[in-house]
Amino acid sequence: MKNRVAAPLVGRPSALLLRILVLGGGVALIGGAAAAIFQAPPPGPFAEYPCAVLAYNDLGMHCMQQDFSEMMILPPFNTLRAQVIDRTHGSPEIVTSDITVRYSIPSNTHGADKTNFWAYAQPLLGFPLEPEVGLTGSRLSGIMTRMTPRDWGVVGIPLVPIDDSGRENPYPLATITVERDGQVIGRTQAVTPVSWEMSCQLCHNTPGISTATDILRAHDRLHFTNLEQQKPVFCAGCHMDNALGAPGVPGVSSMTAAMHGAHASRMGMIKLDNECYACHPGIRTQCQRDVHAAKGISCIECHGNMAAVGNPARQGWIDEPRCADCHSRPGFEFEPPGVLFRDAVGHQGIKCIACHSSPHAITPATTERDNLQSVSNQGHAGVIDSCTVCHITTPSDPFPHRRGD
């Protein structure tokens, strides 16, 4: 009985209606002022709103721990950002003021009953944290703030990968609603990925002790520390971590160098098709789910092998793969030097990530929900390439994929 066919595109005009609308558009171009009336609206559930909203997660997957009673590598901490484009004018405008941008994750409205993170926040962080409140003060629903001159966002949503129903869900769908003067003027949905599938137990499995104790005991043995007696331990308290903005202790290797460097030579102990999934989520989660994964491109083909990622000279979360490392096309431009894909701005202030989707979920993704925003805005999965998602009419000028065009 289970229907595996993609959800119907409610509101999508029929082929006949599309032809009528396109023909009407042609008339409208001649007619000038009446153009907006006859143009084909973008297909999909959000076509009726005056603003297009393109939302994205900054990482494509946030991994966190399941148990914080002994140590903390990563807390719950998701980030959502969105660009709002007013499409009612002849030339679309990025909206940066006088709107309210709300976010919520309907299937996941509370989290403090699903994890022991808050119970150990005080000993781990040195200060108490109110249940349901993340490290930056964000909650599971609320209002986004202006992040840059061009987009809105919320940082540090304390999301865990368990729905309110109790089932695991590493790809919960966030709803982003834009209001002006109390009226909804735009809406979208975007995956807010989170997983705690870190399979340390594949190797750290000494009988009679927990995985975390096994890890801390190994650290004590190899590095002459006394962590087992200091539980719970915040790893970034010593190991500098750009992901958390933790400065670490001078002279101690960064988190990424320590983790990747220490384990690079040991991965042969386990037999996984993708060794990255021993620690990054994961064997069942398969967080690398984007168009590259669909084409059989593995993690290390972009990131390099573990030894390369663990190179002490590499800056974690800053020195990341770049599109132009592989992609080249005459006339095309990609991220400028020193700017990550997630922060890069392309077409008229629209961020690359807004049309291409999040890292590790670049459309068309292998996961249905990661394609939803594209499908909802233009009727098909893949990069948002339908001009009428934002423009009233298809511009006569081509978009040459150069920054600033």
Binding site: P45, D67, P106, D113, S165, R167, T175, T213
Partner: protein, 387 residues
Amino acid sequence: MRTATFMLALLGGASVCQAQIYHVTDLGTLGGQSYGFFIAESGLATGCASVAESQNFHAVSFQAGVLTDLGTVGGDSQSVAFSVDSAGRIIGMSFNLTDLRHGAFASGPAGLESIGDFAARAANARGDIAGYLNRSITGLGLVDRACVLLSGTTSPIELATLGGSNAYAFGLNNAQPARIVGLSFTTADSASHPALWIGGAVHDLGTLGGTRGCAYGINTHNQVVGTAETASGAPHAFRFTVDDAGNVLSRTDLGFLSGNQSCAYAINDVGQIVGNSFARACLWDDTGIHDLNQLIAPGSSWVLESAQWITGSGRIIGRGSLVGVPHAFLLTPCPADFNYDGALDSQDFFDFLGVFFATSPGADFNSSGLVDSQDLFDFLVAFFTGC
């Protein structure tokens, strides 16, 4: 004669002993983790467990000490068993992480069988199943809506929201029509409130002063439990009592053990409530809130983190941490320690007599549905045998 014997023993102190209140049973794993969600009065329990190699979660049943992998449905990689219906069928949902579409299943002679394209979350003794389904709606996109599959039917009925986009049903009782509880977003999706559905009507149960809340369980006395924010935004377990028209008669903040946080998942017909507070499984009864970790044998390797369900006879299922690994647990009570103070003594006798002569539902010691002399005799037997 029985009473006279008891009084003599009591005066002599023969039965007074320190006792653990609950015996804890590890329900096992499939090589990874396990979670317990429900236990029927028959002793059949349900949940999910991860398979060692694939790490996929499969629905499992636990009965008489045996953990059984129920597999998945239709090529799905994941499944979770949440309940048992009136016919003894195990109910739950099956899905893939890649599309997260919902498929409801029921166990049958040939294994798990699909019963519809919705997420089955709870079943009642009448055979109704509550849950939620996906819908694509113009202007809203892909949304979830609470639904109920009525006994004997094959198509779930979508339930109304409180004006918002999404709603979920997580529990229901045995009334006709069933009282169904869950959460619904309100108009403009500005809040998410505990919701009650009776027939085709939805009722906003409100919160404890905040903007968010969720109802998980309801008993036959229309007592609803869940978690809701207080005015300060702290999530507290609650018990709301409603009437048959869906009006809220009382709202009780159940408090917390520590950390200004708690959540209640289930309530039985004698009013015992289970849930968690700051990562500790807990029980609420007439005497207040109890940390279940304090009611098992000292020195245990367990950390009981969340209690998910409690039967009428007081058996509790949930999830805990056993040497750092999530394991499903079953707690079997010492029913004669009537006041849950950890000591089997004369106070239990007097507390029992108090509710017995008040003919309170709590005196239905043998869960027969009646408060009668047999309850008294059964209590005495349990008391003198030390649980």
